[in-house]
Amino acid sequence: MSEVASGRLQPPLLLQAEQDGPQAIGADWNPPALAAPPSRFGSAGYLGLGFGILLASWLLVSVVTAIAGAFAISPGLGAGATLLAALGAGLVAFAGLREWRSLRRLRQVEALRAALRDGADPEAARRLSLEWLGDLGRHVPEAAAAAAMLADAADPAEIRALLRGRLADRLRGATRAIGLRAASEAGALVAISPHPSWDGLIVALRGVRVIRQVAELHGLRPGPVVTMALFGRVARSAVETATVDLMSQAAADHVLNGLPVIKHLGAISGASTAAFRLYRLTQAAGQACSPLAE
């Protein structure tokens, strides 16, 4: 209260410009990055990495020793061993490069999904969409027409609307077809499997293939690493975005399996369960692989 009681000491005043002062304010604004979720690289990861390093170093030492031994026997044998080792290393490097490119493509799809959803950067959304459509064009002919229309889109919302309008139904239909085919195949295999313990293996193997097929449909190139990464995403997609769908399907499955008509269509309960599971897996994989999903 003292400053009030004493009244205003000095009226407001805009002082003269500082000649050596900056021309703008705000250059210091640089908010730090948020703490990312903890790395999943836990003890098992370190264990795997350690074994991997041991194995790689053992292989390297063995190969070098073998080549040195071959050269000790004869120069020709040494050259041959070197060529074979180089060929093997080259194939490993090629596989690694393919995996790296596959992972990069997966990251691009995720970035596109974020760009379309957040709507913050129209140019990034357009660039990522064109890259994705380029890959998608191998399986979906409509992708080229969609790419041609993107130039006129003003913002990410419009880009998303265009992509959805042109491609969503096509992708959904193709995903559904993959799911139905996988479901019928797995159902038939389970129905004729000699022992119930084989059922899980059949579903698992067919499930891997389903995820790879759906990923390819959505413009991805799933190698082993990307397939594993997709498994995680599919699981999250099933838990997070498709919880409702799964719950509804589970309810529908339950009621459907209880209907006398279905019961007497020849469907064996184990086979139909396997079919339903694969069909649902396909739907979740479609959610996980599509940048157009919410």
Binding site: V4, Q10, P11, L13, Q23, A24, L259, L265
Partner: protein, 483 residues
């Protein structure tokens, strides 16, 4: 076999639809929370800038930049963030104009940045904050989605709210009493002269009514633009909105008008137009858009009012008080609905002294305290209905930085910014900001227009958000409990 398959398909689709509907409702109940956030404030208090900065900083937060530290702290768990995304809700079939967030942000981030123009119409925008639940068990049921519906509108319209419960005679009497004292008297001289020549019992004449309306409106504009006053009614006279000028707007306060003027008289014509005006704004604005908000941010340009002089300051205080009471009690029918328990009460009210970046750090607490002193009577009215009330000093866009300068031989705390239209930083000494409602001895009678600083450098991609001061504190107070 075909019939059986058809029956199975029919059963499948029916059960599936039912289950999907039920599960969708369950999902919304478990995971979705919709909040209607009313950002209210008098004209030029910075509502549009506040909304733009709030949205952009939330979007940047969603991109992984810590633009709102208190909000991100709220979302932190075990050393990492639970936040998954922040996104604008795509437009659907809304009848309201869409808030031009992109346009406002682009103007602020341009090479020659510009502040948004005076809001002329209603606009709405919605965004969704998606985060993991804090509880591990609930994380299994999906992500939490907080949807914020934000409304922007001309601040002038807000002051029509206290008008709704007044009769034409009451309003005329109160308005003319206010016009009779400075500084309104000076700006309304022509209108007051005009009034001396007419009487409520004169035969109704459209030309006369139009002439009186024009003069009255000009006096309101002068009070707003030259004296910095806010309590100016009716709001549509200053900002007609998209409908433009319509004959029901052509009225003005009339001295000596009875509650029931004689039929066919000028008084009856003006009274009818006044009542039509009330019905129109109630139907178009208050009942339609103001009825359902859950949380309230009240922006007050305390500093501008303080430096516009005693009359402007007292005018602002009166406006805040009347608004707060009108917002608390509802109006007409709606107040009775509240009594019956059918209207949800306001869940939180945050008073914000805007443009806090014009005040150096040491004085910002005073600014906040002054706002609290100013808003206390209004806040008490909310506290009686148990709505938590908080007070903040904030700048949605921080255009200055703190510094010091030598003034009259002594070093004083200043803020430094680039005045709009100039190209060099200038220090600004704001003077002493009182921490309570100042006594009469405080006022010098001098009017000081606050400098308009150029917006800071803003990353046009938006990923770094917008430099602000205390915006996170406001947001945390208003929606923090939902995150």
């Amino acid at each position: 076999m075909t019939a059986a398959t058809g029956l199975a398909a029919w059963a499948w689709s029916g059960v599936r639809d039912m289950a999907e509907t039920a599960a969708g409702t369950l999902d919304a109940t478990l995971n979705e929370h919709r909040i209607r956030l009313a950002v209210t404030g008098l004209s030029r208090s910075g509502k549009t800038v506040f909304i733009t900065s709030l949205i952009q900083n939330l979007l940047a937060l969603g991109h992984g930049r810590d633009t709102l530290p208190l909000v991100s702290a709220r979302l932190a768990q075990a050393g990492h963030t639970r936040l998954r995304s922040v996104r604008l809700v795509p437009t659907g079939v809304e009848t309201l104009p869409h808030f031009d967030f992109r346009g406002h942000f682009a103007a602020l981030a341009a090479q020659q940045p510009a502040w948004p123009r005076r809001t002329q119409n209603l606009a709405q925008i919605s965004l969704v904050i998606e985060a993991d639940h804090a509880s591990g068990l609930r994380q299994r049921l999906g992500r939490r989605r907080v949807r914020l519906d934000i409304l922007d509108y001309p601040g002038e319209w807000l002051l029509d709210l206290p008008l709704l419960d007044r009769s034409f005679a009451d309003w005329s009497r109160e308005t003319l009493a206010a016009l009779a004292v400075p500084p309104r008297q000076r700006h309304a001289a022509a209108f007051l002269d005009f009034l001396r020549a007419i009487a409520p019992g004169d035969r109704q004449d459209d030309g006369l009514a139009r002439r009186g309306h024009d003069l009255y409106r000009r006096s309101l504009e002068a009070c707003r633009d030259e004296a910095g006053l806010h309590y100016l009614q009716p709001g549509r006279f200053l900002c007609p909105g998209p409908q433009g000028e319509a004959p029901f707007l052509w009225f003005f306060p009339l001295p000596g008008v009875p509650e029931t003027p004689a039929a066919g008289s000028l008084g009856a014509l003006l009274r009818d137009r006044f009542e039509t005006y009330k019905r129109q704004i109630r139907a178009d604005f208050f009942d339609t858009h103001f009825r359902a908000f859950d949380r309230q941010v009240v922006l007050v340009d305390v500093l501008g009012a303080l430096h516009a002089g005693q009359a402007a300051f007292e005018d602002t205080a009166r406006a805040i008080l009347d608004l707060a009471q009108a917002l608390r009690d509802g109006w007409g029918f709606w107040s009775r609905r509240r009594w019956l328990g059918l209207v949800r009460p306001i869940e939180h009210v945050a008073f914000v002294a805007t443009k806090a970046d014009h005040v150096p750090a040491l004085n910002r607490t005073n600014l906040r305290n002054l706002l609290e002193a100013l808003a206390q009577p209004a806040a008490r009215s909310w506290e009686t209905v148990r709505a938590p009330v908080s007070y903040h000093a904030a700048a949605a866009i921080r255009s200055t930085e703190d510094g010091s300068a030598v003034l009259g031989g002594r070093t004083v705390e200043v803020v430094k910014g680039v005045v709009l239209g100039e190209d060099r930083v200038r220090p600004f000494y704001v003077g002493q900001v009182p921490s309570a409602v100042p006594p009469a001895s405080f006022w010098t009678g001098q009017y000081f227009a606050m400098p308009v600083f150029r917006p800071p450098l803003i990353d046009a991609s938006g990923t770094a958000g917008i430099r602000h001061l205390g915006l996170d504190e406001v947001l945390d107070a208003v929606i923090g409990d939902l995150l």
